[in-house]
């Protein structure tokens, strides 16, 4: 017996509302693009925010949506950075946009190969395994100095104009437009992905792997898939760094970078895609402001913020911000649709 069309309509509306662009999101991206003209003197830091945001978005895909914690995400970032820098230096792929995509593929290959290491075991195992992979790569880059430049970094990289037209200038004007555009495109793709049946299955795998497999989901295959995608994102973020600075050094693989990344995502909050971007904005501006204030001791303040966030707990922070979020909720389409179709409050 088919259900009444109105019930199907309501269900469809509700499912679509999950994925609809909220006014606040539109505002966020308008502001980001407006900064191309309005914040011309901050383009260097905005460029850094853009690739760091992309890097954190990549971590959010595996941590926030699939529950895979990593302390070695810099492995993919680093592979992307070196790939892009080497392609430019030896003029193998001269055009930066194409080189960036190749770097993403290289990182994805590494992500796929190492994904099988994170399938089994607890969070602790995963932390250690991911950390280990990044350390191994760093040492490999160090060992093969003839290729990577070793401890001095890869010198003499010149980046050709984007698409053969746009020169990457030293003020970061082109760099910001480039990084923001790449970030936006990859964000839209990630947004589609997490709102798709595949994205829903990832959340189910994170929420209850036992049940996920009991409805016919191959848990391992899904984890491999998202880990590979996330690695590609991280690799592209690394490529953006290498291309906008025309440099790659061992530091791209460093433990600090992986740990900072986790911090960025925790500041912004995992599991809603914007956490990494907001975290990157807060982290970079905080770092910028604090390092001007106390050039030597700024990590102290960053550390303090981390401790406060973890101790106070995100849940409690989210209850402090509840009134704001409620206000935002009133503005959202999802609430409007609910109000006009289901009226849950009137039911009781």
């Amino acid at each position: 017996m088919p259900p009444p069309p109105i019930a199907v309509r309501i269900a469809t509306d509700w499912l679509h509302a999950r994925a609809r662009w909220q006014p606040l999101e539109v505002l966020f991206w308008l502001a980001a693009f407006a900064a191309i003209w309005l914040l011309r003197d901050r383009h260097l830091i905005l460029t850094e925010i853009a690739w760091l945001g992309l890097f954190a978005l990549s971590l959010d895909l595996i941590l926030g949506y699939a529950g895979i914690i990593s302390l070695g995400h810099a492995a993919f970032f680093g592979v992307g950075a070196y790939t892009a820098a080497l392609l430019a230096k030896y003029n193998i792929v001269g055009e930066p946009v194409l080189a960036m995509l190749v770097a993403g593929v290289a990182a994805a290959v590494l992500g796929f190969a190492t994904s099988f290491l994170v399938l089994r075991g607890s969070d602790l195992t995963r932390l250690m395994v991911t950390l280990g992979v990044a350390l191994v790569l760093r040492e490999l880059a160090n060992r093969y100095g003839w290729l990577t430049g070793g401890a001095d970094g890869l010198q003499g990289v010149t980046i050709k104009p984007l698409l053969g037209v746009f020169d990457l200038d030293m003020f970061g004007h082109t760099g910001y437009v480039y990084c923001l555009t790449v970030l936006f495109i990859l964000f839209v793709i990630a947004r589609r992905l997490v709102n798709s049946p595949f994205g829903l299955s990832l959340m189910s795998v994170k929420g209850n792997p036992l049940r996920a497999s009991a409805i016919g989901i191959s848990v391992d295959a899904r984890l491999v898939a998202i880990y590979t995608v996330a690695a590609a994102y991280a690799g592209i973020a690394g490529a953006l760094l290498a291309q906008t600075t025309a440099f790659a050094s061992l530091e791209v693989f460093s433990f600090d970078r992986s740990a900072d990344l986790l911090l960025v995502l925790i500041i912004g909050g995992a599991g809603y895609l914007y956490g990494g971007l907001i975290g990157a904005i807060i982290f970079k501006f905080m770092q910028d402001y604090l390092s001007e204030l106390t050039p030597q001791y700024w990590p102290f303040w960053i550390g303090l913020v981390l401790v406060v966030i973890v101790l106070v707990g995100r849940e409690r922070i989210s209850s402090w911000t509840a009134p704001i979020r409620r206000l935002v909720g009133h503005l959202s389409w999802r609430m409007m649709i609910r109000r006009f179709t289901l009226s849950p409050d009137k039911g009781h």
């Binding site: 019930a7 499912l15 189910s204 209850n208 049940r211 497999s213």
Partner: protein, 251 residues
Amino acid sequence: MPVALETINLIKRFSGIVASNNVSLQIAKGARHALIGPNGAGKTTLINLLTGVLKPTSGRILLDGEDISGLSTHERVRLGIVRTFQINQLFNDLTPLETVGLAVSERRGQGLDWWRIVGSRPDLVSEVVEILERFNLNDVIDKRTAILPYGKQRLLEIAVAIACRPRVLLLDEPAAGVPEDERHEILAAVAALPSDVTVLLIEHDMDIVFSFADRISVLVNGALFVEGSPDEVARDDRVKAVYLGEEVADA
């Protein structure tokens, strides 16, 4: 009567303990088969063997005559062996709409579809809504599973399994822990399961077993002890002795 699910000399040992001892069980197509037995009889182990959570030490499992012993859990689900859980195993952060929608999209092989937005296939949503209405979940489709009343969660357990369109459905104590006043809803849902679905019910509550089953197997110490129609099992003195002893003594 053709056999839907069959085990042949199934043995499972855990470091010295024999949890399943040479179990050869046949479940007829379309049957309402109940599996009973005292605590520790090995009912849960048997379910885990049937669904592929555990690998048998020896023996075989056949679905419609095909050996499925080597397949993993999710592969068996695809072939139609679906279970519910005695203790709710649901997705707390998802709504019933999303949960059942996920199960249906996976069954249709659309689980890797990563570009299409959830809910953009009208026939899929229609099927999901139909299932939710059948299990009386239509008033909570957009509520987080974690905040649903326990009875609704138990209904969702069964609804998710039905969304996988099982050939053989393993029901593990569907009414466990449900308050008395919500119980009839679960039992009605179980009674209304499609007749072409073969059901194996694991249950402690004898009222449910005898009102539901047309065949009963009694498991004791990991081995198949007695099997027969409800009447035969109810009259069997050995069953009374090991299992129904107290109830008979009370009567």
